[in-house]
């Protein structure tokens, strides 16, 4: 057993840390106020090659394995989560489908421009009628000659405003339920594609979740991603692939919160001494540390298992679930430790508190993760010798 990162990963992570802390972190207040990522930061992120994290080297990316990706995501988690989400959604659910399921021609066409960040990727599964129950989608794709005509809408689509390439799930055969769904690669310039309203959210400012409308949108048949009828399975695969990465981002945010707390508890004096001297504060910090350490171990084990090509359905759900719930607990404790200032916008703590809240909801709610874990437990029992479990 070896818990160390390769030298490559250490160097990359150091490079990302420097950029994130010197540039993005300095822009965090601006992102929060203007609800957008400054052009300058966006351009620097491109120059850094961050948009190519998960894209193979032959298509101009870095081709990092999951452990490497998680190490970078951990660093990205240590700053404004809106920025983290832009990069996270692009390098995760926004491009993984094409990397894992795309044909050679699709990869050649899309990945090089996505690796540089010229084309931003997004993933469009959710609809008003299809959230946790994604198979209940209404968006319909009908084949006409060598094209598909898509009608319907999506909502809450991250990176939708700046996105160029969308992995879209739509029903090709309504008779077949979940097995009648197909994934498509959709470009924003396709006729009939329209971006609707940008949702006003509780947090994640700078990251835009939008409605998408498809009105007789024409998609050439070579843009079917994977096999027809496999869209639901594809979507689950893409989401499962992103879970370790999300856990790593949450890990980074928790570490940053602990760092803020450690600065504050020695600086802030009440009752004639630093609040660190209060045992309740010490114990809160100890609990935060315990959860961070547990999350770190869990995250990198799932990442490592993924790189070993092991089945990680259960473990990835555990990491997503634990990571997002830990983040919420840590953010809550951090606000408490900071007292009144923890509630104020002039300080970053309340921002993390709001941004933490989405993590138990998107990319599969906590309840859905628990369902996945339980169904995996049942599967294991069924596979073992125990008879009678159906």
């Amino acid at each position: 057993m070896d818990f160390s990162f390769s030298e490559d990963i250490e160097l990359l992570r150091e490079g990302v840390r420097k950029f994130v802390q010197e540039e993005v972190e300095q822009a965090a207040m601006e992102i929060e106020e203007k609800n957008e990522i400054p052009e300058r930061i966006f351009e620097m992120t491109k120059d850094m090659g961050l948009f190519g994290l998960s894209i193979p080297e032959e298509y101009g990316g870095l081709g990092l394995d999951m452990v490497g990706k998680c190490a970078i995501y951990e660093e990205l988690g240590k700053t404004h989560n809106g920025f983290t989400t832009l990069v996270g959604a692009h390098t995760g659910i926004g491009s993984v489908g094409i990397v894992e399921l795309g044909t050679e021609a699709q990869k050649q066409k899309y990945l090089p421009k996505m690796a540089t960040g010229e084309w931003i990727g997004a993933f469009a599964l959710t609809e008003p009628s299809a959230g946790s129950n994604a198979a209940n989608m209404k968006t319909r794709a009908e084949k006409k000659g060598d094209k598909y005509i898509i009608n319907g809408s999506k909502h809450y689509i991250t990176n939708g405003l700046d996105g160029h390439v969308f992995t879209v799930m739509a029903v090709t055969d309504p008779e077949k339920g979940a097995k009648g769904i197909t994934s498509f690669i959709v470009e924003k310039d396709f006729p009939g594609f329209e971006v609707g309203a940008v949702e006003e959210k509780m947090g994640l400012r700078g990251s835009h979740s939008v409605e998408l409308f498809f009105d007789d949108m024409e998609v050439p048949e070579e843009n079917v991603l994977g096999e027809e009828g496999q869209g639901y399975v594809n979507a689950l695969k893409i989401l499962a692939n992103g879970r370790a990465g999300l856990a790593a981002r949450n890990l980074g945010s928790c570490e940053k919160l602990l760092e803020h707390c450690m600065d504050y508890v020695f600086e802030r004096e009440q009752f004639g001494k630093p609040i660190f001297e209060q045992q309740v504060i010490q114990h809160k910090l100890a609990d935060i540390t315990m959860e961070i350490e547990a999350l770190r171990a869990l995250t990198y084990r799932v990442a490592w298992m993924t790189d070993q090509k092991q089945r990680v359905v259960k473990e990835a759900a555990v990491a997503k679930l634990f990571g997002s719930e830990v983040y919420n607990r840590v953010a809550d404790a951090a606000v408490q430790i900071h007292g009144g200032i923890g509630y104020m916008k002039e300080y970053p703590i309340e921002r993390y508190y709001r941004d933490a809240r989405i993590t138990t909801i998107y990319e599969g709610t906590s309840e859905i993760q628990r369902n996945i874990i339980a169904s995996q437990l049942k599967r294991e029992v069924k596979k073992s010798t125990k008879a009678g479990v159906k």
Binding site: D8, L11, L12, G15, E23, M44, D47, M48, G49, L62
Partner: protein
């Protein structure tokens, strides 16, 4: 064009610095490329992009300096040279460094050498100009803009906030000042590539130098941190009295008037 950058590994003065036994405590200190040398690396890369050629970064240092050289390679330099004095020298001064660099450049065909204006650790600002003197080439310090056209070079330099325009020619040594450019962050692909770029390691022997040849001409007698800042003074009373008191303090205590 053969573009050289002379650069130095130094501690990060934005981090806490401790002095122990008249030496700066290395443990716990963060080490970086001297920030002025970073301007030099950035400008070297820009010059290469414009005029072609090759960027070589050179440092006189120790084994640990490899990290800063790799950083410069990750930014985009082509080759690195580490002149490692770890086994040969206890300590040295600007004379030592210049003597070593002079030996290194003796055989080289130089287009331009870029250096930092000063190193933020000792801030002597001597190495660049002294090296140019030894190599018998022109030098311009504290540059904020450079334009090479054939052999002719147009430079703007910072003179305590004013701008001086200088015309000179290659081969040339310049020292770089803040404002010259904004150094890039090494890109992630750049960081990966840097590992595979050539890094040559030399010792005094390889430059036909003996320890005696480079022996320091000066001795550092003491190093100490500046005194801690004292708490500010709050003046009270009528505004007129406060102003009178302030002026008196500025004149007699602070001695700035």
């Amino acid at each position: 064009m053969n573009i050289f950058v002379i650069m130095k590994r130094t501690f990060d003065t934005e981090e806490k610095i401790a002095v122990n036994d008249e030496q700066i405590e290395e443990e716990g200190a963060e080490f970086i490329i001297n920030p002025y040398d970073e301007y030099a690396v950035e400008e070297a890369i820009n010059l290469r992009e414009e005029h072609g050629g090759e960027v070589t970064v050179v440092t006189v240092g120790e084994e640990e300096s490899e990290k800063q050289l790799r950083n410069a390679l990750a930014m985009g330099a082509d080759k690195a040279v580490l002149i490692n004095t770890e086994d040969d020298l206890e300590d040295g001064d600007q004379f030592t460094t210049v003597k070593i660099l002079e030996a290194f450049f003796e055989e080289k065909e130089v287009g331009i050498i870029l250096a930092g204006n000063v190193a933020i650790d000792e801030a002597s600002g001597q190495v660049g100009p002294r090296l140019a003197e030894r190599l018998d080439i022109p030098y311009v310090t504290t540059i904020t803009s450079i334009n090479v056209d054939g052999k002719t070079v147009q430079i703007e330099r910072d003179v305590e906030g004013d701008v001086e325009k200088v015309e000179t020619y290659l081969p040339l040594l310049v020292t770089c000042q803040q404002g010259l450019n904004e150094p890039r962050y090494p890109s992630l692909p750049g960081i990966m590539k840097a590992k595979k770029k050539p890094l040559e390691e030399l010792e005094l022997d390889d430059l036909d130098l003996e320890e005696d040849d480079v022996e320091a001409k000066t001795k550092t007698v003491d190093i100490f941190l500046p005194p801690e800042k004292e708490a500010g003074k709050v003046l009270e009373g009528e505004v007129d009295d406060q102003v009178t008191e302030l002026v008196a303090l500025l004149r007699n205590e602070a001695k700035v008037l």
